[in-house]
Symmetry: C2
Subunit: 390 residues, 2 copies
Amino acid sequence: MRVGVLGIGKTPHKIQHSKSLRDLIVEAGRGAIADAGVSPSDIEMLYVGNVGSVGFNYENSTGLMAAHHLGVVPAGAVRVEAACGTGAWALHLGVVAIASGLYDTVMVVGAEKMNDLATVEATSIIAQAADSKEEYFSGLTFPSGVALTARKYMQIYGLTEEDLAHTAVKNHHYGARNPFAHLRFECTVEEVMKSAKVADPLKLYEVCPMTDAGSALILCREEILRDQPDKPQVYITASQMATGTWYAATDTLEDAYRLFNEPAKRAYAMAGVTADDIDVAEIYNSFSIQEPLGIEGLGFAEPGEGWKGAKDGSTWKDGKVAVNLSGGLLCKGHPLGATGATQAVDIIEQLRGTAPEGIQAQDPEIGITACRGGPGAVGAIHIYQRLEGE
Amino acid sequence: MRVGVLGIGKTPHKIQHSKSLRDLIVEAGRGAIADAGVSPSDIEMLYVGNVGSVGFNYENSTGLMAAHHLGVVPAGAVRVEAACGTGAWALHLGVVAIASGLYDTVMVVGAEKMNDLATVEATSIIAQAADSKEEYFSGLTFPSGVALTARKYMQIYGLTEEDLAHTAVKNHHYGARNPFAHLRFECTVEEVMKSAKVADPLKLYEVCPMTDAGSALILCREEILRDQPDKPQVYITASQMATGTWYAATDTLEDAYRLFNEPAKRAYAMAGVTADDIDVAEIYNSFSIQEPLGIEGLGFAEPGEGWKGAKDGSTWKDGKVAVNLSGGLLCKGHPLGATGATQAVDIIEQLRGTAPEGIQAQDPEIGITACRGGPGAVGAIHIYQRLEGE
């Protein structure tokens, strides 16, 4: 399967009080349309990833609203939601639509406007992405649930908090160089250690901020992109989804691996590549611990070894596989519905060679994105390849 | 394109205070799994249509929750939302997934639990499906917007309120015979006329109730159903979507026709049938006026003539095309995310010959569903055919 990436667009990732959800969708979407060089009337389907507009912005029907404001009527338009895996799910639906042969050109948007409310209200809305009927009432929020996972990982594999802090250091090193990132400062292990405890053992510099952003992609049949050899020849060659545990309380480390490991195996087979072939990866890390878990789930390291690359350099820009050169969610923030789409846009920029100075890897050819959501309820893997002159 | 319908399930459509959203999903879903004779582990993808769980039930991630409670982990699972077209969109995504060749067996669920809140709160949540930032603040709710359309239609085509009332009479005639319907009473034109005005000229018996329900389908590759000749050989042979006007205030009658007319043309071409071939139809009618508009949009009658069939019998059970033998939304109610899926289940029962006594058409072979949503923002057309012994 080869699905052409005709265009990409994204907004800055930051707090944007002066922009509404529709503004973010339009900014990202028009960027992708311009980059693709298509007319809005060429777009046959529109998949909009958005998690919380009803709670955050008092509006529903985000897909229909987006179609109207982007001027892509009469494309079919829909909103999709799968907790923090939402943007990746929108991308998956776009890929499947093209793969079906039923559509030539479709659009994928991910967007979230989280900063319309007080933080405490927004946090309550985020918590609805887990089990609001049982676990949330027991006080098990996302930070506390993930902190339990971090504690478990550290105990099983004998890590110190300093060991884990290297992941935050690496992300902030690159986030500081990404003009689209929300948090743009470098930090040392000592500074990570001194930052405020959010949920023991996770500290402030190991936790993503609350961010407003949108990202968009225009996808097309392989032949359409082939016929435009002047455009960057980047194709999505695999898209695989999975579900895992819904209850955070019963989530084990094995569940966390399986969430990526199982769809990643399918994705590698689909694309005809192996974990060793991957040059650049964007791995979900709303909390630092999720990055080593993802590195291990994707097969880049053995269980318990995924944190080491941030310390020894092998997951830095010139290492064996460059992980989260965007700064990851720790620095870009995690605008829920946008995240999966932004990961895709960031990897595509890497393969095109158009990533910002200081975070562009050297001539990468194969990239991967791994998005997750819910307690451990969504795994989403996409593989991207630059395939020139075939 | 032929997508097999392996199983169907639905809950009663009524106020269900003793059941939660997850109960409705599980009841409908397990019904479809049992009917299909598959194991939950056979299901590769789960598309859940739900509009308002965040507002109605204080929970999000309905797709992930459904996967967990239905035991279809590790299928990929997602929630989809497109206002009142939500259930039809979930169905469309299931159809495209099978058509892509990437999946063998997928599940589609539509569900809504609307009666957890006071009616005034629920109405406010429903209104978010239109433009909550501009029109809703101006007081243009769905009943008032559709009443304007009804008034326009009556003025242009010279109808009386009595003329339009026949549509409610027909729906209630069949709704009274459908044990799954919410409102089960017959009424006369006089009784419709005497029922309370909701939004002039629409009266209470011309408006759907607020209903809790779920519906589900298991879809599969054509060959899988072909290999089970003892199962009813019903296939989905077309699935086409469109968007139309987002603002109710600028919605014209032409827009209302186009919303169905344009995707219906594509759907007829896709299935290789014409409007004349259709035996049974389920047409969205949360308000009575939408049924004649749909009849005209689908090409069953000329513009301005769609209301006549309810009076002269041609859209009754033994007429030229039987419309809304389920009682339509007027009697089944309109559990937002469920509706599009319920329409599909009702038509499939007709083609299987298993509809309840009194509403089963005589040996129908080809059916259609037409769902809409938003002010005039979603059109969704599906065609179903019984194809024995091919």
